[in-house]
Structure formats: structure tokens, C-alpha cells
């Protein structure tokens, strides 16, 4: 497969997953904040800052609901906005449409048009739930088409690598956001220990709340929430599950018979082993340090993957070099 096309497949997967997470997060986080038992967490400013923490870039605008939602949803100057991630997902899928199935391409295309044809004014006033719910559905359809309508070969593996690496990033980003929120609440309310609602919201944002309740047979506390999100191998959204999947997809692509230090196979295998033997107690010794380390490891994985498989030299066209006959 062409390296350029491999790059497009990988980024198509990453962008669709990013868009899905942003949509889920703002949907669940926003509506959960409306009746949170914690007064501070109900305040507009707190909620909006929290939304920006995960879904926006370096936002300099006013902290009003309409402006923040516009920035996250439809600001074309924000590379992380929903419209931009959906556009990038489609552009990358477009470059691979000769390799992906018709069904898969149509799913990407419909997903893009869903966002592009949505009225931004409706989104910032009454359409937040409507659009983000529809987007989650559209992203699910894309993933379903990837799994069901593509050969489970390199094309599929590259899309899945993009999806799972992005998902791993988003899980850590979610945890980081919640630690930031909880830190602020505790700073204002010293002695406040019952933050179950906040941790439940975290699990809801990752769409694993119901699973976690079944697993622990009660509403998880802080330790359990973090453990479930990071270390639980039966939770398909956990960090370790995503690293495990990444490891297996990389192995499908790999033609190396021995492990070379510094290679993607080596780095990912090492991080997987680290997570396998990590305990929640070790994480909780310094959760912030763990989060920072996880970000660093994921960045290393991304960089090694691009170095080993996607090395590209790109040129930007200056003229249209074909006259249509």
C-alpha cells in the first residue's frame, strides 16, 4: 500500500474517533452539569472551561455559552472543532476511496454532510443534543462499515490503528479533564470527599458507566473509576484495551521478525507490559504524573508509527494539471 494512502487511512480513523469523543463529551458533560449536586460544577464558567479543556484549542474568546459552543462545534479556525474534525476525516477518507468499500465511503460522506449541513445557530441554541447524538450514531456506522465491509487486511488495520490510538489519547484526556475539574472543586470546598457524581460523569463520557456499575455492582468511586478506565482489560474503552488492540494491529502490519529498540513494535510492546503490571495504587500515588507519562508514551507511539510506516514528502499543487475532456 502507498505510504501516502496509509497516512490518509490512519488519519481518517483518528479524526472520526476524535469527532465522536468531542461530541460525546460535550453532550454528556453539558447535560450532566445541569443537575449536578455540586453547586460549583453547575456554574456556567466551570462547565464552559471544562468543555474547552477537552474540546477546544487555545481559546481566547468570551466565556459565554454561545461562543464556546460555536468554538467547539463550528469554528473553522479551531482545528479541534467538530466541523474541522469531520471535514478532515472526510478529506482523508476521500484520498482512500479507491481502497475502502463503497459502503464505508458513503458512511464517511454522510457523516460529513450531517455536520456541514447543520445550522450552527441551531447548534448553539437548541441543537446540541440533537447534533451530537446524531454524530455519535454516524461515527458508529462508520466503525461498523470499517469492520463489516472491509477485508481485515492492511487497509482495515490502518483505520483501526488511527481509531484506537485516538481513543487512547481521548481516554487520557478525559481523565485529565476530570482531575482538573475535581481539583478545582476540592480547592473551593476543602474536605469535600463525595465526588461520585463527577466520576460517574467521567465514565458516562467514555460510554462505560453501565459496564462499570455491573462490574463493581455499585456506583464506582474515584479509584474504581480510574482503574476501570485505565487498567480493566474487559472494558473495551480502557487505555490498556486500546493499547492491546494497537499492539495486535501493528503486528498485522509488521514484517519484522525481531524486535528493534525504538521501533513502533518495541515501544508499544513495552508500554503494554508496563500497563499490564501497573496497579491502581501505583497510579494513585501520583495520578497527574501518570497522566503526563501516558500522554508522553502515546505521543511516542504516534511518532514511531509515522516514522516506521508513514514517512512522506508532500507537495502542494499550484495548478490544476488536468484539463477535463
Amino acid at each position: 500500500m502507498l505510504s501516502r494512502v496509509a497516512n490518509s487511512l490512519y488519519w481518517a480513523g483518528r479524526y472520526v474517533e476524535r469527532c465522536d469523543h468531542t461530541s460525546s463529551f460535550i453532550n454528556i458533560h453539558y447535560f450532566a452539569s445541569l443537575d449536578t449536586p455540586n453547586k460549583m460544577a453547575q456554574e456556567d464558567e466551570f462547565v464552559l472551561e471544562s468543555l474547552l479543556f477537552i474540546a477546544g484549542d487555545d481559546y481566547q474568546g468570551k466565556l459565554t455559552e454561545e461562543e464556546v459552543l460555536h468554538h467547539i462545534g463550528f469554528d473553522r479556525k479551531n482545528p479541534m472543532s467538530i466541523i474541522n474534525t469531520a471535514t478532515q476525516a472526510r478529506i482523508n477518507a476521500h484520498g482512500t476511496r479507491h481502497l475502502i468499500s463503497t459502503e464505508c465511503w458513503e458512511a464517511f460522506n454522510k457523516f460529513y454532510h450531517l455536520v456541514n449541513s447543520y445550522d450552527p445557530k441551531v447548534f448553539i441554541t437548541t441543537g446540541l443534543y440533537d447534533l451530537t447524538t446524531k454524530l455519535n450514531g454516524a461515527c458508529s456506522i462508520i466503525r461498523e462499515k470499517i469492520i463489516r465491509t472491509l477485508m481485515h487486511d492492511e487497509v482495515w488495520a490502518l483505520l483501526m490503528i488511527g481509531i484506537h490510538l485516538e481513543r487512547a489519547f481521548q481516554i487520557i484526556r478525559l481523565l485529565n479533564t476530570k482531575l482538573y475539574d475535581v481539583g478545582k472543586i476540592q480547592a473551593q470546598n476543602p474536605g469535600l470527599n463525595d465526588l461520585t457524581y463527577e466520576w460517574a460523569t467521567l465514565l458516562r463520557c467514555a460510554e462505560v458507566y453501565d459496564m462499570s456499575k455491573k462490574y463493581y455492582r455499585k456506583i464506582p468511586n474515584q479509584s474504581q473509576a480510574i482503574e476501570f478506565l485505565i487498567l480493566n482489560t474487559k472494558n473495551p474503552k480502557s487505555l490498556i484495551s486500546n493499547i492491546e488492540k494497537l499492539h495486535s494491529y501493528i503486528q498485522r502490519l509488521s514484517d519484522k521478525s525481531t524486535l528493534v529498540p525504538g521501533s513502533i513494535e518495541f515501544i508499544i510492546g513495552k508500554f503494554h507490559s508496563y500497563l499490564t503490571y501497573l496497579t491502581i495504587e501505583e497510579i494513585e500515588n501520583d495520578t497527574t504524573a501518570f497522566v503526563l507519562n501516558a500522554f508522553e508514551e502515546l505521543n511516542k507511539i504516534g511518532a514511531a508509527f509515522e516514522k516506521d510506516y508513514l514517512f512522506l514528502e508532500t507537495v502542494e499543487p499550484t495548478v490544476d494539471e488536468s484539463v477535463s475532456q
Binding site: 471535514t87 479507491h98 481502497l99 463503497t102 454532510h113 499543487p317 494539471e321 475532456q325
Partner: protein, 489 residues
């Protein structure tokens, strides 16, 4: 006359007296072949038809068969290429005539190109003026003496045909470089099959879905020497190109890679594509990039999307380019006018398809005639594609006539003129009036020419000028398309 809301779509349809109507006779009766589809549309209520129309549009939209509206690039507005649900139907006998005609042209043109790049007998015998060829910007000196595999230059060609008011078919032009539009033929058929199930069962229609397989076989048949199983690719300028949908569509349907210039490199006069497993040799390239841009070492040096050295590899016989570079001089609109003589010269046959009478502005007598009759002629630049630069005499103001005369005088070689041909009309659904109205149509056929066969796609693209009275059918000029049904005998 019933109101448009109560009556059928055809109540106000008036068969033209001036033009050949493909669907209706002068007395208003439906022509053979069209009866089933006409009855079907008549029996459909407006609501059902409009639902069908919307579904077809949605299908095109979801497949991404769209173009960007450049005035609104910020918001990424896209539109589908207009598509009409009423297919153009060609019976077996007429199709046989067309098919034999385009095969004859393709074979003659191929021999013509070979001759021009070798002995130039046709020039020496003064059948075609030498100056006409040598002054063509599409004549590539670098191709002189080179023999492509199977001596084939035009592996894929598109022939634009119209039916005049006399009921005869005429060729308007040959497209020998990168003819586009075949993806619409296939997708139009898919859309119609979904929507007109009952009608398809009642007509015996040739399939168009095997075109990608036929194209792949054609490409494989012209592989370089000493290659058993050739690796074929489609070479696109990139996703910004207006025909990118087609490039990707064909690559996907053939199951081969879609490459850009940056994906290819030439090493030791062989072409390789850069893959995640290292370089892979490429044997046959279906290139949708114009000559000027394919190799900055030989053609335009500012081309960023070409592949340096690809012409070296080609001329060493290590890779095949389809179509061959340098075919463009033969689809020059001035050379077109000599096609009847070219056919007779190489094949010793009378042309099966008519050519339109053409005036060469560089000839003194023709120039004088054209200058005196601009208002009665279609004036065309010889080297433009996509309908650009064409003027239709009876639609010009006096000032515009003067401007055309001035342009011709300034560059006589650049212009030819033809009588205003009366393109036939076909019933076409017009959204604004919500009824079927007659609109002008042409037909583009697609011919594949491989080492061992010549295959004409039994269908083709019927392009329709949606604006009332407009004769230019190109999509860039607001044209749409129709599915074309070729009936089995």
C-alpha cells in the same frame, strides 16, 4: 390543456418542428423503444416521481458525486451534477452503426498517430497539411520514432456524437487525451436501476457495469515486454482535481492503486511506487494527468505533480503510459476536419459516421466565408476542451460578432467554424417548471483499444443542456447527464 398540478408531466410537451426529437414523433406519438418508460412516467403520480427524483439526488450526494461551489468554499457547499431520470434509448440497429463508426475512427486515428510519429507518409502525400500538425501545441517531438506496445496510442478514447435535424449521427469531436465522464455512465445506471425496477425488466438493455474490468484488461494487454503479471495503477493529479471522483472510482472498481506524482519515483529507468513495504515496480500507468505535467524533465519544468524521469522509463519500454503522450494533436479540432480523408487513407473505407462540414480560418476562402457569416456559424478554438471559447452565431449581439471576428483575425490557426448543428432534443425533467421539456442532447461513447481487441462501451454518456435553447452540453457550462440505454437486438 390541464394545469400542471393536475395533468401529467407531458401535457404541455410540444415536439419540436425544428429539431429531431428522440422520444416523440411530430404527431406526438411515442417512438418505439420509449413506450415502456413513457408509460411508467405517465403512470407515476407527481409525488412518486418527485420522491424518486429526490432519492436519486440523495444517492449521488451520499456517494460524493458532487462538485464544490467555489463561491462558497468557506462553508464547503457542494452540489451534485444534474442528472435526469428519463434515459436516452438507442436501438440495436442504430447502436451497431455508431459502434462500427467509432471503432473505424479509433483504428484510423491510431494509425494516423503512428504514421505522424514515424514516416509521416500522410503528410508527404499531402492528404493532411504538414503545418497543421507541426503547429499543434500537442504534437510532442519527443515521441518521434518511439513505438509503444502494440503500436497503440489511444487506449481510451471518447467520441462526441450528435444527431442532426436530418436524423443522421455526426461526430462533433474526438477526445484522445483523458476523456472523462465514464463514471457517470456507470453511476447513472446504478441510480436508474434502483429507481426504475419495473421498467428495466421490460427492456433488454446492455450492461455498462463491466467497463472497469474491460479497462483493466485493456491496460494489462499493453504491458511492457518481459512482464508476466503487470502492476497497473491510475495516476491522478490529486483530490483537488475536478475528475478525482472518477479516478478513484475506476481505481476502486479495477482493484488497483490510485497514485499521485509524489507516490512514484523513477530509479534506473524503472517506475516504482512508494509503499509501506518499500518500492513496488509499476508496469502500466493509466494516467489522468495531461502531457505537459507528467514529467518535468521533458515537459513543463514547473510541474510539481509529475514524475521526473517517467518519460525515460517509458521510452526504454519499462513502463506503459495510457494514453500515450502526444496523442493530443490528433483531437485538435482542425485535424478533426480531415478525419474522413484520414479514414480513407489508412483503412481504404468510407467513413461510417459523418463529420460536420468545417471551415479552417487559416485557409483564405474559408476565412472570408467565416468572417462574413459569424452570425450563422459555431466558432471554436481548436485547442480548448470543456466547451470553453465556443461562440454560437445566432446567439451573438452585433458587438459580440465583431469581437469574434477580431479574435479570429488575430490568430487564424486557432479557430475553425462549423454550421450551427441542430442537436436533437430529448424529453428532460425540468425542476423549475415541474414538467418534461425538450432539451438538446449529445452522446459521448467510450472506446477501449488494447493489444488484441477494440471494445466500445454499450451505453455512453448522454449530456443534456438544461437551459432552454442552449446547445452547449458540457457540465462546466451548466449541462447535466442522462443514462443511455442501448437495446439488445
Amino acid at each position: 390543456m390541464q394545469s400542471q398540478q393536475q395533468g401529467t408531466f407531458f401535457d404541455i410537451y410540444k415536439p419540436s418542428e425544428q429539431f429531431y426529437d428522440e422520444v416523440f414523433s411530430m404527431d406526438g406519438t411515442v417512438k418505439p423503444g420509449y413506450q415502456h418508460i413513457f408509460n411508467h412516467f405517465k403512470s407515476l403520480g407527481r409525488e412518486a416521481f418527485l420522491k424518486l427524483f429526490e432519492e436519486a439526488k440523495t444517492s449521488f450526494f451520499n456517494q460524493g458525486i458532487t462538485f464544490a461551489v467555489y463561491s462558497d468554499t468557506e462553508n464547503g457547499t457542494e452540489k451534485i451534477f444534474p442528472f435526469d431520470l428519463f434515459p436516452r434509448i438507442i436501438d440495436a440497429k442504430e447502436w451497431d452503426h455508431i459502434e462500427r463508426g467509432v471503432i473505424q475512427r479509433t483504428q484510423a486515428i491510431n494509425q494516423f498517430i503512428y504514421d505522424i510519429y514515424h514516416d509521416q507518409k500522410i503528410l508527404k502525400d499531402k492528404v493532411v497539411p504538414e503545418a497543421l500538425i507541426k503547429s499543434s501545441k500537442n504534437f510532442q517531438k519527443t515521441m518521434m520514432g518511439f513505438e509503444p506496445p502494440g503500436k497503440i496510442y489511444c487506449h481510451i478514447s471518447g467520441t462526441d456524437i450528435i444527431r442532426h435535424s436530418d436524423g443522421e449521427y455526426y461526430v462533433l469531436e474526438d477526445n484522445l487525451r483523458c476523456p472523462s465522464g465514464v463514471s457517470y455512465v456507470i453511476n447513472n445506471r446504478i441510480a436508474l436501476k434502483r429507481g426504475l425496477v419495473g421498467v428495466f425488466n421490460k427492456n433488454k438493455i446492455h450492461s455498462v457495469s463491466d467497463y472497469p474490468e474491460q479497462l483493466l484488461e485493456t491496460l494489462q494487454s499493453v504491458k511492457p515486454m518481459n512482464v508476466d503479471e503487470p502492476t497497473c495503477v491510475v495516476f491522478t493529479p490529486g483530490s483537488f482535481n475536478s475528475a478525482y471522483f472518477e479516478h478513484a472510482f475506476l481505481a476502486q472498481r479495477m482493484g488497483i492503486e490510485l497514485v499521485e506524482g509524489q507516490d512514484l519515483k523513477v530509479d534506473n529507468d524503472f517506475v516504482y511506487m512508494k509503499t509501506i513495504r518499500g518500492p513496488v515496480k509499476v508496469d502500466v500507468i493509466y494516467r489522468r494527468v495531461d502531457d505537459d505535467f507528467i514529467d518535468p524533465e521533458v515537459f513543463r519544468k514547473d510541474s510539481l505533480l509529475g514524475v521526473p524521469g517517467i518519460m525515460r522509463a517509458y521510452q526504454k519500454g519499462n513502463v506503459t503510459l495510457a494514453n500515450a503522450p502526444g496523442t493530443g494533436f490528433a483531437d485538435d479540432k482542425a485535424v478533426y476536419t480531415y478525419l474522413p480523408e484520414i479514414i480513407k487513407y489508412y483503412l481504404d473505407e468510407e467513413p461510417i459516421l459523418n463529420n460536420v462540414r468545417t471551415y479552417h480560418c487559416e485557409k483564405e476562402d474559408d476565412y472570408k466565408y467565416v468572417m462574413d457569416n459569424v452570425d450563422k456559424l459555431v466558432v471554436k478554438p481548436v485547442d480548448e476542451a470543456g466547451g470553453y471559447g465556443i461562440t454560437i452565431g445566432n446567439q451573438l449581439t452585433k458587438e459580440e460578432v465583431k469581437a469574434v471576428q477580431k479574435r479570429i483575425t488575430e490568430d487564424r490557426r486557432k479557430y475553425i467554424a462549423q454550421p450551427i448543428m441542430s442537436l436533437s432534443v430529448h424529453a428532460t425533467y425540468i425542476e423549475d417548471s415541474n414538467v418534461f421539456e425538450p432539451r438538446h442532447v449529445d452522446l459521448r461513447t467510450y472506446t477501449l483499444f488494447g493489444d488484441d481487441k477494440c471494445h466500445v462501451l454499450k451505453g455512453g454518456l448522454s449530456r443534456v443542456a438544461l437551459k432552454k435553447g442552449n446547445l452547449i452540453v458540457n457540465s462546466s457550462q451548466g449541462g447535466g447527464s442522462k443514462d443511455t440505454w442501448v437495446l439488445r437486438s
